[in-house]
């Protein structure tokens, strides 16, 4: 499990590691004002699995996600996507990593207002100058139920539809890992449940890997595994979580 082999591990085996951090530390500021957002975190995320990250506000969830996804840099420690050590990449290589090997869903503001839903979905491919894989595209669109809305601009879509477009965009490149930072945070529970259903089926049917930050025990119950953070440290984890199991764990950690 501590292998740092450069070879890209095979996907969807449930055994290989899609993303991993080792002794990851992130400090903001310096001296007295220094905030330790991540404190020597070591955790890995299995390929082909749906993992949720939970923890109190300020516990470092977003920071962990950003550092794994190459949006932010660690103060010390290492982060890997597959076998790639992110710290060794230049800004340009990081950009290409994000474009070609990762997908993102943010809590809000996921889409460029000037592009239609379809164009937003294919944006990473267009930026790469790659051809859209028609079959895959249709599959993703169909499973997200977006067929009707592809020609619309974000402003013409509901919040739930916008988030679904964001999921489709994140999946469009068949990425190694899809990261989501509270993707359902701005949605009502029904729409949120739909979206989580899609993410679940992306893992089950399409063989994707999903790592998602959430505050919601129900959302976490869709995952295969829940990792709990507190004060920048991994404090516990649950396999095959249920809503009640998560709630209980939260109570225990909170108390």
């Amino acid at each position: 499990m501590t292998s740092t082999s450069v070879a890209k591990p095979p996907r969807g085996t449930g055994q290989s590691i899609a993303a991993r951090v080792e002794q990851a530390t992130k400090t903001y500021g310096s001296g007295d004002a220094a905030v330790v957002a991540l404190d020597a975190v070591t955790v890995d995320f299995a390929a082909g699995a749906f993992t949720a990250i939970m923890g109190p506000s300020g516990s470092g969830k977003s920071t962990l996600l950003h550092c794994m996804a190459g949006l932010d840099t660690l103060s010390s420690g290492q982060a890997f996507i597959g076998g790639t050590d992110i710290a060794s990449l230049s800004d340009k290589e990081l950009t290409l990593l994000r474009r070609d090997r990762l997908g993102f869903i943010f809590q809000a503001f996921n889409l460029l207002p000037v592009l239609t839903a379809r164009e937003n979905i294919t944006l990473p491919l267009d930026l790469a100058g790659r051809k859209v894989d028609g079959e895959w595209f249709e599959k993703v669109i169909a499973s997200l139920g977006l067929g009707e809305r592809l020609g619309h601009r974000p402003a013409q879509l509901s919040g739930g539809q916008q988030q679904r477009v964001a999921v489709a965009r994140a999946l469009a490149t068949k990425p190694e890992v899809v990261f989501g930072d509270e993707p359902t945070g701005a949605l009502d529970s029904r729409t949120g449940a739909e979206l989580l259903g899609f993410l679940r089926s992306a893992v089950d049917d399409l063989g994707q890997t999903v790592v998602m930050v959430t505050h919601d025990p129900v959302a976490a119950s869709y995952a295969d595994r829940v990792v709990f953070l507190a004060d920048g440290r991994v404090v516990d984890e649950l396999q095959a979580p249920t809503r009640d199991g998560v709630l209980e764990m939260m109570k225990r950690l909170g108390g």
Binding site: H66, L71, L96, R98, F104, Q107, F109, L123
Partner: protein, 842 residues
């Protein structure tokens, strides 16, 4: 509110700098125009006052023409009038003087040519009180026929010292003199740039073709007698046809004439200043528009916490006022420097202007402040008023307002205006001589662009919106579509300058084509001789020499003067009667050249139409020197552009009314069987003593004419370059503002895998699209207006039409390059957005 305004000003330094720069450039241009012309005016005032120093009264021939500019030369007086004057009581001293053409040659025999100033020869005053500001720097005044004094500037230029020998070209030929003195003029080395050779009086009279004559008599009053009293006294004693004026009157008159001339010059400069100000106000308007839009939430918050609409408006006006005031101050200071720059620019194309310490009149300061403050405030108030109309809650709800909507009526009006403009310009081009219609068409066109601009910007973006959605062009096009009004206003700033440049380019190119057509149409001369300097002329001696050459068949002298016909200023030409037909085909439409003799004239068909005169009718010309003279129309001719005047007299009639005998041009045909090259060689050899005469064949002549057109075009383009710079500032401004506005979007793009280069590309292409839009609009309107204008100037000698497609294409390419350059800063800024900050919810 005041503190808030000041804070918000300082919070956005870049924006502030760009806005201030836009106003500053415009104001600088306005103040430079005023400073330059005031400085020149003062320089001339000093000059004339200096000339008249010590003189109380001037006696000269009475002029018919009240206009001192048109008068130019007064008819010389008989020299014995000096004795009459001296006998008048109260006269302490009186002395006659003559002035005329004298071109000093340097040691290599090359003429010492000042830029645009005359080359003067004059008599020397022996009465030191009557010699004005002239003073001997070294040596002594010329006393013998082969002695002369030269101005210190010419002496320095040619390296002449007292005792050197130097040749001078006169109307009648070249002579050599010993330099006995070097003169200065007050503190300066020359008379406003003119060269001066002065001679002992009798010699000067002979050399300048005024033997026994004086141009004017300078009189000094005896102690205790005022200039006015002496003038009145003298007026009693003088014969008819002579007048006495106080020296103040004369210098005031000359200064006024110069100031009138400078007024035109100032107006031309102010037009250019106006263009850059118009561009500047577009930029400011746009800046404040975007600013206010971006600050809608801020404004709404202020309103929500209780600021009244008026307070918010007041804050914005205050902000604009401060920007205007600072920019106006900077612009004024820059204007003084710019005045020097424009002077150098004029000097570079051969227009040398006299100068003295820079003059900043109160008027200049007032104009600068007014222009800076008023334009900025007005440009800011419009968007500000609309901002205060927004309901506080609405503004707080919508984060980034993007006003992509274009009213239907706005589009309709805009398109109608553009159509009207196209129709007007086309009609003007077809009908010819439609100056007013051309102006209206151009104005309608510009108004149409302003009104329909957003629509056009969107249409243009639609064209560019091809290919993959993630590709730079498509994204850039869509961002423009998002705020078409802003894009249009930004682009139109560039349009203004380019419209004028293109219109001027078309007119210039047509002028050049006209020169070629003209020469191939009516010219029969094999050689055309002209003075190398614009102020000089060709000595009549040249024509006499040419007449004696075996290789030369016909020689035509052509002289040129202004006079008045039917109360309008008119150009009169005197030419050698016998050779007209050999040298040119005037295109006679009525009457016969055979009837053209002393007492008759040739009238252009254009003037004939205006005067409603035909062959056999009488036309009265009022000469500045001699007054009314009547001539019978011998024939009507069509090709007035060939000679540049509508009234042709015989050389004898002309000489009877105009003293100056310098030829404006001499035209020559080769004797049969003589090759062109041989003729030119022969003529060059024969005229070795006249280095100031330029001998060119028709092709060379056309080229030199065209070169001067190109030079004017270059000058105009250089002046308009400032307007283009302001427009570029505007593009940078708009881009920076929209990058700031779109921080999150740009961050999102980076997050999903857009490289820095890709982000830069999008911004750059937005810039290029806006620049191209502005350029194409400007080139189209400018070309249309230029064609109509060239046709409207048909009467001014622009007989052909030529559209310089290559230059126009270059302008478009330059605009694209400008777009790329303007985007450098904003694009870099865009590519450096903090991805995290952009995507985290605030």
């Amino acid at each position: 509110m005041l503190r808030y305004s000041l804070r918000s000003l300082l919070a956005h330094k870049l924006r502030l700098v760009l806005t201030v720069a836009a106003v500053t450039v415009g104001v600088a241009f306005v103040s430079a125009s005023f400073v330059l012309s005031d400085t020149m005016g003062k320089a001339f005032d000093e000059l004339f006052a200096g000339l008249a120093k010590g003189t109380d009264v001037v006696v000269r021939a009475e002029s018919i023409d009240a206009n001192a500019t048109a008068r130019g030369q007064v008819r010389p007086l008989d020299e014995d009038i000096v004795d009459t004057v001296r006998k008048v009581s109260g006269v302490a001293a009186a002395e006659g003087s003559v002035t005329g053409f004298a071109l000093i040659l340097d040691k290599d025999g090359q003429p010492i040519q000042p830029g645009g100033a005359p080359t003067l020869g004059s008599s020397t005053s022996t009465d030191s009180d009557l010699s004005g500001n002239f003073s001997l720097r070294s040596g002594q005044v010329p006393a013998a026929p082969d002695e002369m004094a030269v101005d210190a500037a010419s002496a320095a230029k040619a390296g002449y010292k007292v005792g050197d020998r130097a040749a001078v070209i006169f109307e009648d030929g070249t002579e050599e003199f010993t330099i006995t003195g070097i003169v200065g003029f007050g503190d300066t080395d020359s008379l406003a740039g003119a060269t001066l050779a002065s001679f002992e009086t009798a010699t000067a009279q002979k050399l300048l073709g005024k033997a026994g004559k004086f141009d004017q008599i300078d009189v000094r009053a005896a102690d205790g007698i005022s200039a006015v009293d002496l003038r009145d006294e003298l007026a009693q004693a003088l014969p008819a046809g002579t007048e006495a004026l106080t020296a103040d009157q004369v210098s005031g008159e000359s200064a006024q004439a110069i100031r009138d001339g400078l007024g035109i010059f100032t107006n031309v400069l102010l037009t250019f200043a106006g263009v850059s100000l118009l561009v500047g106000s577009f930029v400011i308007w746009n800046t404040f528009n975007v600013l206010v839009a971006q600050r809608r939430r801020e404004v709404a918050l202020l309103r929500a916490v209780g600021a009244k609409g008026g307070q918010v408006l007041g804050g914005i006006i205050l902000e604009a006022g401060l920007i205007g005031l600072v920019s106006a101050g900077l612009g004024l200071a820059a204007g003084v420097g710019l005045a020097g720059g424009i002077r150098s620019l004029l000097a570079a194309v051969g227009i040398e202007v006299p100068t003295t310490a820079a003059v900043v009149e109160p008027r200049t300061i007032v104009a600068a402040l007014l222009v800076g403050v008023v334009i900025t405030v007005v440009a800011a108030v419009v968007p500000a008023v609309s901002a205060t109309r927004v309901a506080p809650m609405e503004a707080l709800r919508t984060a980034t307002p993007a006003d992509g909507s274009i009213g239907r009526s706005r589009s309709t009006v805009g398109i109608l205006l553009l159509a009207a403009s196209a129709a007007a310009l086309a009609t003007a081009a077809l009908l010819k001589d439609q100056l007013v219609l051309t102006g209206l068409g151009a104005l309608a066109g510009f108004a149409g662009l302003v009104v329909a601009g957003p629509l056009l910007a969107r249409a243009m973006a639609g064209l560019a919106n091809r290919g993959r959605a993630g590709g730079g062009w498509s994204l850039a096009a869509r961002n423009i579509t998002r705020a078409p009004k802003r894009a249009a206003a930004t682009a139109l700033a560039l349009t203004i300058g380019l419209t004028v440049v293109c219109a001027v380019a078309v007119v210039a190119s047509s002028t050049k084509a006209s020169v070629t057509d003209l020469l191939s149409g009516g010219n029969r001369a094999d050689l055309i001789l002209q003075a190398a300097s614009p102020t000089g002329g060709v000595s009549p001696a040249v024509a006499r020499i040419l007449d004696q050459q075996a290789e030369v068949d016909a020689v035509l002298e052509l002289r040129f003067s202004q006079a008045t016909v039917a109360n309008k200023s008119a150009s009169i030409i005197g030419l050698t009667r016998d050779t007209v037909d050999h040298v040119m085909d005037l295109g006679i439409t009525a009457g016969s050249l055979a009837d053209f003799r002393n007492g008759s004239l040739l009238l252009s068909t254009k003037q004939a139409k205006q005067l409603d005169a035909g062959v056999g009718d009488t036309v009265t010309i009022t000469f500045p020197e001699t007054g009314e003279r009547s001539y019978e129309v011998a024939a009507l001719f069509e090709r007035d552009a060939l000679v540049g005047a509508g009234y042709l007299l015989t050389l004898d009639d002309y000489a009877g009314n105009v003293t100056s005998r310098m030829d404006a041009a001499v035209m020559v045909t080769a004797a049969s069987g003589v090759a062109a090259g041989k003729l030119q060689q022969q003529v060059d050899d024969a005229l070795a003593d006249f280095p100031n005469v330029q001998v060119s064949d028709p092709t060379e002549f056309a080229k030199s004419q065209q070169a001067s057109v190109d030079q004017m075009l270059g000058l105009v383009t250089a002046l308009l370059a400032l307007a283009v710079i302001v427009a570029v500032l505007g593009i940078i401004n708009t881009l920076v503002l929209s990058v700031v506005e779109r921080t999150r979007e740009l961050g999102l793009m980076r997050a999903v895998g857009a490289t820095r280069r890709q982000v830069r590309t999008v911004i750059r292409r937005e810039s290029v699209l806006m620049s191209l839009f502005g350029a194409i609009a400007g080139v189209l309107l400018g070309t249309g207006a230029g064609i109509a204008l060239a046709r409207a100037m048909n009467g001014e000698g622009i007989s052909s039409l030529d559209v310089p497609l290559a230059s126009l294409a270059v302008y478009v390419v330059v605009a694209a390059v400008i777009g790329v350059l303007a985007a450098i800063g904003p694009a870099r800024r865009a590519s450096r957005v903090d991805v995290l900050r952009a995507i985290t919810v605030d």
